[in-house]
């Protein structure tokens, strides 16, 4: 792999950038792999990378039915934070945040992790109680998260309207300074490049149509539109399509796939320095390096694989944004889009073994998948390599829906992921 650096770019600039090779190889699939990962998003590509890097398993294929990074990896609002409430959540999101902090250097690919701070607005006493619960839990767990007064919040994010007369006045905010954003495409491409360099096969336009098992029930491989591909172990990391794939192995899972929309404004000169989220009014917003306001909307209320949603969802988000930032009413929406998120009933992910030997599931990240990418990928690789979960992901099992040991961030916190 050619190392990327400012010197390499400068050298190439002098010769018309003719020397760059492909980010990743596009090989024909082998008949048999040690591990197949279904789903070429950040989680799947990352898991392949860590399998190769940390577990020495390089006979790995990532099968992607479309183009890599084209699912939720490329459709989210790129928010990164780890200030969750429960230990299970803090474990995995903080593990992830620590990986984010070094990811560009690790991958030799600039993923543009930008710790610009994630600020969650508190609008009432209930929010305040909940945020303080988070802040205290985070502090005792070694995760940064701090309470700001309205004036401190305004100082951190000048466009904020902190007038007491607002319909939802701001009585404070929780700020995680290490939180921020990253460049979504770069995550997929960076992992793909680094994994490919270590021998992982990245196979695009390869749709899995069946999961084959032997007489003991153990997986043997997958049927695809490019034929049968054998594997000793299969990891499913397909976000919105997890249920569909698990059905191929005759396993029903506690997941629902719903449309999640987002939008960007026209590009504007920098005015918005951080990420702001408000659960009470249902909005989150940041400004991209290109100057676009990146705004996340909510999920539609029904299951859908259509990657589209209703205008009323966008409206609901924008009226909240305009209420918080009245000067943005003249800003224009440039592009809106939708993804498919798979959500569990406790709004926490599933990562673990399944009833099918050799089949591993990484799913249910809902609206929190992007921020978890490196951590989830890293621990998923561990799970696949060792056949049992890493300590930091031990609570995320499928089993919890039977035992009732849920990790109910939404119920406990009323904070959007």
């Amino acid at each position: 792999m050619r190392k990327y650096s400012v010197f390499a770019v400068a050298r190439e600039a002098l010769r018309g950038h003719k020397g760059w090779g492909p980010h990743w190889a596009s090989p024909e699939p082998r008949p048999q792999y040690d591990v197949i990962i279904i789903g070429g998003g950040g989680h799947g590509l990352g898991a392949a990378y860590y399998l190769a890097k940390e577990h020495g398993i390089t006979n790995v294929a990532v099968l992607e039915k479309g183009w890599i990074g084209g699912g939720n990896t490329g459709r989210n609002t790129t928010i990164i934070r780890s200030n969750y409430l429960y230990e299970e959540s803090m474990d995995i999101y903080e593990h992830s945040l620590k990986l984010w902090e070094n990811l560009s250097q690790d991958l030799n690919y600039n993923v543009m992790y930008s710790p610009r701070g994630v600020m969650m607005l508190s609008h009432n006493i209930h929010d305040q109680q909940s945020f303080k619960r988070h802040i205290n839990a985070n502090r005792l767990y070694g995760i940064d998260n701090e309470w700001l007064t309205p004036e401190q919040a305004k100082a951190y994010c000048p466009p904020l309207d902190i007038a007491k007369s607002a319909r939802y006045p701001i009585n404070g905010a929780a700020l995680q300074r290490r939180g921020g954003t990253a460049r979504h495409d770069a995550v997929a491409w960076g992992y793909a490049r680094a994994a490919s360099d270590r021998g992982v096969h990245i196979i695009q336009n390869c749709e899995v149509t069946g999961i084959r098992r032997d007489e003991t029930g153990r997986v043997t491989g997958v049927d695809t539109n490019r034929g049968f591909i054998g594997a000793k172990k299969i990891g499913i990391s397909a976000a919105g399509h997890s249920s569909v794939l698990m059905q191929m192995a005759d396993v029903r899972v506690p997941l629902q796939s719903q449309p999640l929309q987002a939008l960007v404004s026209e590009p504007l000169k920098p005015i918005f320095p951080c990420v702001v989220m408000s659960n009470s009014v249902h909005a989150y917003i940041s400004q991209s390096d290109k100057g676009e306001f990146v705004i996340g909307a909510g999920t539609d209320q029904y299951n859908s694989y259509s990657q589209t949603g209703g205008l009323q969802i966008i409206t609901h988000t924008l009226d909240a944004i305009c209420e918080l930032f009245p000067m943005f009413r003249r800003v224009k929406m440039m592009r809106q889009w939708g993804g498919i998120v798979d959500v569990t009933q406790d709004r926490s992910p599933i990562q673990g073994v399944t009833p099918v030997p050799g089949l591993y599931l990484n799913a249910g990240w809902g609206t929190g998948g992007f921020k978890a990418t490196p951590g989830s990928a890293n621990l998923f690789a561990h799970l696949i390599a060792r056949g049992e979960p890493h300590r930091l992901a031990a609570g995320l099992t499928l089993e919890r829906f039977r035992t009732g040991r849920l990790i109910d961030e939404a119920a406990a916190a009323a904070v959007a992921h």
Binding site: H123, Q128, A186, K290, R330, Q336, A411
Partner: protein, 997 residues
Amino acid sequence: MSGVNRISGAGRLTPARTARFTFDGRTLTALEGDTVASALIANDIHLVGRSFKYHRPRGILSAGAEEPNALLDVSRDAARRQPNVRATVQEVFDGMNVSSQNRWPSLAFDVGGFNDLLSPFFAAGFYYKTFMWPKAAWHNLYEPFIRRAAGLGVAPTEPDPDHYASRYTHCDVLVVGAGVAGLAAALAAAKAGAKVIICDEQPEVGGALHYDSGTVVDGKPGYTWAQETGKALAGMDNVTVLTRTTAFGYYNHNFVGLVERVTDHLAAIDKTLPRERLWQVRAKKVILANGAIERHMVFANNDRPGIMLASAGRTYLNHFGVSVGKQVGIYAAHDSAYEAAFDLKKAGVAVAVIVDCRERPGEAVLAEARSLGIEVLTGHSVVNTTGKLRIASITVARNGGGGARKIAVDALLVSAGWTPSVHLFSQSRGKVKFDAATERFLPGTYAQDCLSIGACNGTDDLQATIDEALAAGELAARAAGAEGGGQVALTGQNAFEWTGGMIGAAEGAGPDTTVKAFIDFQHDVCAKDIRLAVREGMHSVEHIKRFTTNGMASDQGKLSNMHGLAIAAEALGKGIPEVGLTTFRQPYTPVTFGAIVNHSRGSLFDPARKTPMHAWEEAQGAEFEDVSNWKRAWFYPKAGENMHEAVARECKTVREVAGVFDASTLGKIEVVGPDAAKFLNLMYTNAWDNLKPGRCRYGIMLRDDGFVYDDGVVGRLAEDRFHVTTTTGGAPRVLHHMEDYLQTEFPHLKVWLTSTTEQWAVIAVQGPKAREIIAPLVEGIDLSNEALPHMSVAEGRICGVPTRLFRMSFTGELGFEVNVPADYGQAVWEAIWARAEPMGACAYGTETMHVLRAEKGYIIVGQDTDGTVTPHDAGLSWVVSKKKPDFVGIRGLKRPDLVKDGRKQLVGLRTKDPKVVLEEGAQIVADPNEPKPMTMLGHVTSSYWSPNCGRSIALALVAGGQARLGQTLYVPMADRTIAVEVSDMVFFDKEGGRLHG
């Protein structure tokens, strides 16, 4: 004079009607009806902006919504400033101020232009490969630099003073686009009797007829026919004609969003008018007549000001009477551009040359050019241009090399052919198909009830377009159920038949990697960038788009998509359909947030629910808190009191005398029917059939998973009638939850549910003197302990109006909750207050209510529980029936994790130092010296200073809490560690004697 380039006698504007505006501080004269673009060109200004990345000088490229370059800042006053306005769409009004963007210090001398020199370094995707060292530098150094350079306009900094309107509307047929096709279809649909809406983004109907001077429809010049038809349609009762109205989004089930620009073109604005109006149209049938967008030619340095689309040149001339230059060149791969030369020549403008990269243009246009004496170079290409801030010359060479010749021009009109506008069709999730013969994507499989006609459907011939439109209009009307008899026949003819078209890079635009042949002007994407992306392994069109950012600018690739695709296909050695088209997303052109949210702002953003006594509370100086949508009185500070003092006073007063509290927001549901008790048996954990009429009981409601969902007091008014109360925030979802079980699981039960939250104003009177306060006002109810004991309810009258009077208490004191019909709430409250105040009682708010109930260890669902708490965890096992065979949650409660030891249980906490008040949300540990990450046992759910106990009190969820009574635990805060003792939850009047007065 309205500009040096205005040609007397040309165009359709009235020379006498002028308007003045400023551009970068310079005052200019325009004509009414000008766009900013036409007015600038009339004043010989082509340079209007700088590009995004290289800061190259840019001019006006188009005359329509597809404009990628001419994005300007337009303002009426300081607060009414709009960045990124397309000069080609914005109409001039007298007094407007226009400024260029993304340049410093000036448009002509922009320091950012230095980037152009560094452009070899700034290749597509370069930022992924660098800026990684040292680690922190990305965020601290590189990113701020990149951010400052990026972005276009400057965001507004003042709240928007304008307002916006919204209309939901329905129609049989929605026609998008009012060119020939749209007008003909609308006419046919309207004559057939359908309810029709036709919209067009331009100020008047006509579409391409604005410039297409040779077109004849119904025996008249096309433009004239269009205006007459538009008027005729507007005059029909069943037709709505919306101009300046863009159909921006096609959503599910034929729901189409339109935005109408109402005042942005007016010099003086009527303040009652909305700035923009959002139309949310549900159409039975949609007819898409979006037309086609002309493509530019991709060649070296094709971005200089003065280079523009041929049809734009015709629009400026034929509609606005403005010549784009004095010595105009044409560079084309399509016949349509020839007509621009003809129009210019006929208007007396010098046409330097027509360069046609094809060997064989259409014979008719070639013959006409020759007969007009225009030089035509077929089989030639423009291989370079010169001119710093405006094009000065083109270099023309024979295809295949040789014979380069420099020709002086001050404008160059280009056309690579036409791209059908399939944006809305694609938004409707219809699938496009590639027509190899004409190299264009056309509507293929339809996903919704719509039909594309005319140019956006690939129909070129005018008569064919008209026939298709008329058939579609009538068919749509009939399918929507219209039964009118009118039929329409129309004829139409173009001046010339058009052939040709190309996509991708023209001769001389590569593969040389130093040539800047622009595809996407706004994002500075060149042909070489696409090739680089392919070399770097980006083989999907989506990857190429994202790697190069081609088509991701504010014009959303209207000009660039096809070119980018063709170049990528060539580089990949694949056919265009195999590479595929990127998805078109809403909106078609950018839409203001204001239009989308329209009325939803300020008091109309979200209903602020107020109780019948709100005005009184406000007059008393109460502070309010938000609880779900309600505004609740929080505390009532007296002069000079802070919150702590006010609450302390209220707390003492209630226990010593009495207090009056507005409890109206509590949810109320009337459960009526012979099976009412049976139903409540299923919905609550405890038993209801043994509750006697006139008595009340506290109930806990679970979800089927066993966790606490809501709670409240339920009164039985009669055998078949219960008055159920819920938490304030829980009211709507509890009713929904109960309806769900009633309708779908227990439909055999004869019982009905009605929300009565707002029927009743609820006045809680609590404290030793409560009975004395209300007694004289009450008729027909014996208030004695014997007749109306704790937890009972009676109906009678108070202050002459009906009441449901509850004897109950959330304070631990003797208490009543007076329910009266809401319109009487304030009057009854005032009557009670008139008795209470002289006795020394107070009005108290939610904060005091919280303290008083915590003193008694009463929980608040949602504060002391959080959706992960069972009734057993909350110390409410006594509310869970052990005898009932079924209730919602019965099985969930038995799951392994819900019955195991060590669950978090609700307990009391007493700080060792009684003066220290814990923070709500503080975490609890056993070992304060454990290093991080510490083992947290639980958290403080409620914590107050208790004036009545003279110490702090707290409730907490603690792992294995019941087994820890008496233990010392620790609350580590940032600045200190607080020792606490685990206790029971009742801090005041443990025996409960005060309840009985």
